[in-house]
């Protein structure tokens, strides 16, 4: 740390730009991969016309959405209609500020951490900020002045609120095991414990992931935008850049959920199986792989499962979704919380 200006201003600024660009690009390419993988599951080829094998498709989509006419329904509530996409996309991007993509490393003599900041209440911050997104959805649905949008917005609100509870409860089990709210510390705790938390917290892991699918409104919980029922749900009336914001937010949220799952349950940037295959881990064969690659790999597995779900499952009905959330996941995660707590006490924990 030679120059404080570099440490306090330049490094965070560069990090912000890099993370933002990376996330936006990732979300855009996420849509590309989704289309490709879905197509391959459905014996099709998928986008393959723009660029070599279709690799420039997301760029073309982005340009199309940018230059598209931005239609505002005549009887929409203009300000709120504008606010909706902003409220959705901003929290989705803000959350990335606390996600640790890897351990700190040295670059040109500076200590650089591949994350914007390590807040000691990181996980609370994420839960808090990401729930703001629901306002964007419900306000956008209401402001469109369309009955289908309205229903989509209401469904989404109910769904997000009910699935936040079991999700939070399953996160708490990890906190019990790691004894910290900081995401970096949680990863380090997994390194110390020598076991990733998805093994002791298998139930919590499962609940977290399913609730994450529900939180991001993805199949089989994609009711707010179920196109066969509600046309396109809350974003029926949105077009152009505003629609792109909703779209971006959905994919960014998927990345958020996957990366949190990676951090909490799959050991973040740690190479696989610290204790069982310690020899392999320590061996130079895997050592050359940068930690951030492990993180991305694990995240990609989650994202693939997201797409796989979408390619396979039918959709729940709204009341069945609520049943599942309140009557299954919340009791199970409560019991699981108690069990994990007891386990931590018995083993001695910290």
């Amino acid at each position: 740390m030679t120059n404080p200006w570099v440490a306090f201003l330049l490094v965070p600024l560069v990090k912000i730009v890099v993370i933002l660009l990376a996330v936006i690009l990732l979300a855009a390419y996420m849509s590309f991969f989704e289309r490709k993988i879905l197509a391959y599951m459905q014996i099709r080829i998928g986008p393959n016309r723009v660029g070599p094998r279709g690799w420039l498709q997301p760029i073309a989509d982005a340009i199309k959405l940018l230059v598209k006419e931005d239609i505002v329904p005549a009887r929409a509530e203009k300000l709120v209609y504008f606010l909706g996409p902003v409220l959705v996309v901003a929290p989705a991007l803000v959350v990335f500020s606390v996600i640790p993509f890897g351990p700190a490393f040295k670059l040109f003599g500076y200590e650089v951490a591949p994350y914007l900041t390590d807040v000691n209440i990181g996980i609370l911050f994420i839960l808090g900020v990401s729930s703001i997104g629901v306002y964007g959805v419900i306000l956008g649905g209401w402001a469109s002045n369309n009955k289908f949008s309205m229903m989509g917005g209401l469904r989404s609100a109910a769904q997000l609120v009910s699935y936040e509870v079991p999700m939070g409860l399953s996160v708490v089990t990890v906190l019990l095991m790691a004894n910290s709210l900081s995401l970096v510390k949680i990863v380090e705790a997994q390194k110390q414990a020598g076991v990733w938390f998805f093994i002791p917290g298998i139930v919590a892991f499962f609940i977290y992931f399913v609730c994450g699918v529900a939180e991001t409104n993805r199949n089989p919980f994609d009711l707010p935008e179920a196109e066969s029922e509600l046309v396109a749900g809350f974003h029926t009336e949105y077009s152009g850049m505003k629609f792109a914001f909703y779209f971006l937010a959905e994919y960014a949220n998927m990345v958020v959920i996957s990366s949190i799952a990676t951090v909490l349950f799959l050991g973040g940037w740690l190479p696989p199986f610290p204790n069982w295959l310690a020899a392999l881990w320590a061996s130079p064969a895997l050592a050359w792989i940068p930690p951030i690659a492990w993180f991305v790999l694990k995240m990609a597995v989650f994202l693939f499962v997201y797409i796989w779900f979408r390619g396979t499952f039918p959709r729940y009905r709204f009341d069945q979704l609520m049943d599942l959330g309140w009557k299954v996941f919340i009791p199970v995660s409560l019991v699981n919380l108690v069990a994990v707590g007891a386990g931590v006490l018995l083993i001695g924990g910290k």
Binding site: Y40, Q42, I43, W308, G311, F313
Partner: protein
């Protein structure tokens, strides 16, 4: 309920089974045909663009009568032609128009045609007859019917009157078609 039934009702095995099906399809051969580059081959009996031959046509109007939606318009007159030194009256076509934009490609005109080989047939394997302006481009006079101005013929198909006459539908592509009765 047996133990396994209970277990199956809690653990979603059957969802995993479904995931297995879609997962397997990930690696299967894809069904997509890259259309403009790869053209699907129509079958021999495929009813595509019209083939028409003016010299075979005897102007009997059977096709126009058979057409369910009356899109074949024929006008003719008699002319004196000298055949083997004898003067004979012969029907000459003035107009043979098909309003292809309304055509259902049902093939009833082809079935009604009494000449052998047929004067009008649809087994040309050509299907790229789309146009930007339907009223002009998809109205085929007898000249256009024989030159296929505006139709992209299927590779290997020669428009009527260009080069040689295409294969006779009675002897060529549609061989084996059972004669009614």
């Amino acid at each position: 309920m047996s133990f396994w039934g209970l277990l199956a009702s809690i653990v979603p095995f059957e969802l995993g089974q479904g995931l297995g099906v879609t997962g397997r399809f990930l690696f299967k051969k894809k069904a997509t045909i890259q259309y403009p580059e790869v053209k699907p081959v129509p079958k021999d009996r495929f009813r595509g663009m019209f083939g028409f031959s003016e010299e075979r046509c005897i102007a009997c109007h059977a096709c126009a009568k058979a057409c369910p939606i009356d899109i074949i318009h024929i006008q003719d007159h008699f002319e004196e032609v000298e055949v083997d030194g004898k003067k004979r009256k012969k029907k000459v076509l003035d107009r043979y128009d098909i309003d292809v934009k309304r055509c259902m490609f049902c093939g009833l005109c082809e079935e009604a045609c009494p000449t052998k080989p047929l004067a009008i047939w649809l087994t040309t394997k050509s299907y790229e007859a789309s146009a930007y302006e339907r009223n002009e481009r998809l109205y085929f006079t007898k000249e256009r019917l024989q030159s296929w101005d505006g139709v992209r013929p299927y590779p290997g198909v020669v428009p009527p009157r260009q080069g040689q006459m295409p294969d006779d539908p009675t002897g060529g592509p549609a061989a084996g078609r059972g004669e009614p009765k």
